[in-house]
Symmetry: C2
């Protein structure tokens, strides 16, 4: 598992019959290599919300899936170049985030009145003439089991971070107290 | 929701066809008061494992459930006194944990070869003559959704603890650095 991208981005979220709203969404892209039983590469796209532990949508793109995506969206690149191209688009969105009229925007839209079920995650360029869809991925809402697994991983890394902080607090206290004692002598 | 008990206890775990093993299990007892639509008190018993985020068994005992439990296990107390009596038994087990031949022991047993499905959680007293079953509760293994909800709560409180640590680290550093500067003048 190789993590290629992990950043929080501003996303325009639109559900059926609802006002569009802005949300801060973490986008993670990972490349998963499987060697057994066959050599296989899957690109995993995951979007989460640091505030809402239940928010999790994902998509696994295999090399075969990519061929359909390529035909369907008229992409001109191959599977190997796709991750970097996708990341370039996301970084373009980030660079435009502070602009009053950003040229590149991320959209997350779903058919239901609340954000659930499958959702389309798209990179849209807006020019004076029209909206251009650069890429649109159909993400699935994670099942209870997938959310459970995701939260277990979050919990484990948060525990490690907390432990590291406790260690750092202890060494900081010891260190400065020693220096203080020395200075006061 | 009132938390009545929350401690890690040593439990003897036995599955079908397996050697008995000792495990450190966190036992939480909560009293849940519902006022709407009707006044209702439920006792929630939950066992978890601080190491294994997926380990979660629970049981909700309503006043009606308690009546069956009372008859079935020959209890002589009422619902209101039950939580404290249960806690007394758990504390007895804790006080005997370090003994070579503990008189009170907690047992968790299930019918399947691995710990899954319903499990019996019992307080057993062993005297020279026999094993005495003081209390036996049938816990259910939590569903994916229940584990997901439980992990979301854990994550949220761990985040708060981590944030508090970060604050403490910062004030400790500032405080000691100021004292150090003062002492060095």
């Amino acid at each position: 598992m190789e993590e290629l991208f992990n950043k929080v981005l501003q996303v325009n979220v639109r559900c059926r019959d609802c006002e569009e709203r802005k949300a801060n969404i973490r986008v993670t892209i990972e490349l998963q290599l499987t060697t057994s039983p066959v050599h296989k590469r899957d690109l995993l796209v995951r979007i989460t919300d640091d505030i809402d532990p239940y928010f999790l949508f994902n998509l696994a793109i295999s090399e075969e899936d990519f061929q359909s995506l390529k035909v369907q969206q008229g992409l001109l690149i191959d599977f190997a170049s796709f991750p970097q191209k996708f990341i370039d688009l996301l970084n373009l969105c980030i660079s435009e985030q502070t602009s009053d009229s950003p040229r590149f925007l991320l959209h997350l839209s779903c058919q239901s009145p609340v954000l659930e079920g499958p959702a389309n995650f798209s990179v849209i360029e807006t020019n004076a003439f029209k909206h251009l869809n650069h890429l649109s991925l159909r993400l699935s809402q994670a099942s209870d089991k997938e959310v459970k697994d995701y939260l277990a991983v979050c919990l484990s890394s948060l525990k490690a971070e907390k432990h590291a902080l406790e260690m750092k607090l202890k060494t900081t206290e010891d260190d400065l107290t020693r220096q203080l004692n020395y200075a006061q002598q």
